[in-house]
């Protein structure tokens, strides 16, 4: 029996989220994690556009992608600026 056969669904979710670094996101890794999740949504949206006629799921994926991009932009805009070398 393989490791995945022995896993319960709850254990599987824990492992997937842990491996993706999403159970407890480190403060300095938010931007990177948003980028990772955006990539997953983009891949799925591409699949939906190519093979799936479920308009609602497509719209939902597109909206989630928009939310992630919006959050990313706001976080980047609000991020503390590094010190200007000329001020040092």
């Amino acid at each position: 029996m393989s490791q995945s056969d022995e896993e319960t669904e709850d254990q599987h979710i824990w492992r997937v989220l842990s491996e993706a670094g999403l159970v407890e996101i480190r403060l300095e890794e938010f931007a990177e994690r948003i980028k990772d999740v955006k990539h997953i949504v983009t891949v799925r949206l591409r699949e939906l556009l190519n093979f799936n006629t479920d308009l609602q799921e497509r719209e939902s994926a597109a909206y989630s992608l928009g939310t992630l991009k919006g959050l990313e932009l706001k976080l980047l805009a609000n991020a503390p600026k590094p010190p200007d070398p000329s001020d040092l």
């Binding site: 319960t8 997937v16 300095e28 997953i40």
Partner: protein, 131 residues
């Protein structure tokens, strides 16, 4: 610490009740706080303390194993949309998600975990059916 706070919970009673003193892991070690409310997020339960901090269930001492997660299909479209609206509002208001255990940090954490699971699993199901 409030004198009315109940004492630390016993293993048999989970989740703890409002007003109980709970112990949890933090970045600096172990801390305690008074529980104000427990609510389900998109993936896991959050324990909201009286001082406003939001602690995910898996960091609370005595959290039963295996950990319990919400099924993706239990989350309604409306619930997800409301979460997205709250996150964008918090970001637009200039709130900082880099403040650990604060509401924006907690909600963004759950939203990213939920969105990852949702689309990762959906993509995997497509691959499985294509085999």
């Amino acid at each position: 610490m409030q004198s009315t706070a109940k004492q630390l919970r016993s293993e048999a009673n989970w989740p703890p009740e409002e007003g109980e003193v709970i112990s949890f892991k933090s970045s600096t070690g172990s801390e305690i706080g008074i529980l104000n409310e427990v609510h389900w997020g998109l993936v896991w339960r959050d324990f909201i303390l009286e001082d406003g901090r939001v602690i995910p269930e898996h960091r609370i001492s005595g959290c039963p194993q295996p950990k319990v997660w919400r099924k993706m299909n239990e989350v309604t479209d409306r619930e997800r949309e409301e979460c997205e609206e709250r996150l964008l509002s918090m970001a637009a208001a200039g709130m900082d998600p880099h403040k650990r255990d604060q509401p924006f940090w907690a909600e963004l954490n759950q939203y990213l975990a939920y969105t990852y699971l949702r689309f990762k699993q959906a993509g995997r199901k497509v691959q499985d059916t294509e085999r």
